[in-house]
């Protein structure tokens, strides 16, 4: 049990996918201008991650022992189809949200965090349950980072910044400070 908790906390905070491994930076900078949209994109990503984690477990058990070179290709196809599915569901359920997310919804496919998740759980040989916990933690961590970033940027809109820093440069420096703060969690497991 403690093993599962460790996997979860580690993926959520200590080795946060976005702030520690630099994964999923495109949506991290692209969709983080409003907290509400950021959180929903985070939830969609968690969903895709869970499906991917399930699929990756099955692929590694049944397919990959016979054809290891298909690893990347099969993973990416699973991810792409799941994203397509999520896209259709969201379009049906909430057209407004669908518009707000825009191009970044299909781009979940190229969110490296998801492929990294599949590759890591394969190389660490996680079981089905461990994989699911890992996916939840990683997705949660991504959502937290995205929401924090969006919150900071909403505040930043109101403050006066010199023209020269506006845009990506400022976001990058904010992310650096956020990442610095998350490094504090590294002490959690030193014992």
């Amino acid at each position: 049990m403690s093993d599962l908790a460790w996997i979860f906390i580690s993926a959520l905070l200590v080795n946060n996918f976005t702030l520690y491994y630099f994964l999923g930076l495109c949506p991290f900078f692209g969709v983080s201008s409003k907290v509400s949209v950021a959180v929903r994109l985070g939830l969609a990503t968690i969903f895709v991650m869970i499906i991917t984690s399930l699929a990756a477990t099955f692929l590694t058990t049944f397919v990959l022992p016979h054809a290891p070179y298909l690893k990347l290709i099969s993973f990416i196809i699973v991810i792409a189809s799941t994203v397509q599915f999520v896209e259709m569901v969201i379009k049906k359920l909430s057209p407004t949200l669908f518009r707000a997310m825009g191009i970044f919804l299909p781009l979940i496919t190229t969110n490296c965090a998801i492929l990294f998740l599949a590759l890591t759980q394969t190389s660490k040989e996680y079981t089905l349950v461990q994989g699911l916990v890992f996916a939840l933690g990683a997705g949660g961590g991504f959502t937290i980072a995205l929401a924090l970033m969006a919150g900071l940027r909403e505040e930043g809109e109101l403050s006066k910044v010199p023209n020269i820093v506006k845009g990506t440069a400022l976001n990058m420096i904010i992310a650096g400070l956020l990442s610095l703060a998350f490094m504090g969690f590294a002490g959690l497991f030193s014992a």
């Binding site: 702030l19 070179y69 990347l72 196809i77 190229t110 492929l115 440069a169 650096g176």
Partner: protein, 205 residues
């Protein structure tokens, strides 16, 4: 179409005017993750260049065959194939480097820069232009990786390509080699580019 643009222009735009990292802000993930030393940065640049060039040529050759609705999936499969080749080659030639770069070689698949070039350029242009464009973009990307990798290595470890450049008394600026340093350094480099841009505008007025 070919009358209006020249090969050299298409090549140079990737390196400076439309630099994938500094101007378009694409391909950030590998950019930040593997650039704590100059060697890693160059290895990553070369691997990405190989994949970008290979898939650009193939996409450009197949551009009339690929059906529109399934084009993105087709590009991804083509890219994934080239990445698999690169992954296995690096593992064969230099296992140490392969360990160092870890999963990030596989993650070239989802580098938005590569998919972006297929969608925006190779699928609409002849093979010649696709090659030129891909080489320009690849060199621009590698150049950006190298800038970031070299600065972070110098500040974070006090070395350049593994050999110390400061005296013994140099205190390594550890944070630069750690994840936050990547964000901060890239932020400052972008700041520098903004500053250049503004100065140019000021000069024009």
């Amino acid at each position: 179409m070919s009358a209006t643009k020249s090969y050299s222009e298409e090549f140079l735009k990737g390196i400076w005017k439309e630099n994938p990292v500094f101007i378009q802000v694409l391909g950030m993930c590998p950019m930040l993750a593997v650039t704590n030393t100059a060697v890693n940065a160059i290895a990553m640049g070369v691997a990405t260049a190989f994949v970008l060039l290979g898939s650009s040529i193939l996409v450009s050759l197949l551009r009339k065959v690929i059906a529109k609705p399934v084009r993105i999936s087709t590009y991804i499969v083509i890219i994934a194939t080239f990445v698999t080749v690169a992954d296995y080659s690096i593992e064969a030639f230099s296992p140490a480097l392969h360990r160092e770069l870890g999963a990030f070689i596989a993650l070239i698949v989802v580098n938005c820069l590569i998919l972006g070039r297929q969608e925006a350029y190779s699928s609409k242009n002849t093979v010649g232009f696709a090659i030129v464009d891909a080489s320009g973009m690849a060199i621009g990307f590698a150049f950006a990786l190298f800038c970031l990798g070299a600065t972070r290595e110098i500040l974070g470890f006090g070395t350049f390509f593994g050999s110390p450049i400061f005296g013994e008394h140099f205190e390594p600026w550890v944070i630069m080699a750690l994840p936050p340093g990547g964000f901060l350094m890239l932020g400052f480099i972008l700041l520098f580019f903004n500053w250049l841009e503004q100065r140019k505008k000021g000069a024009a007025v």
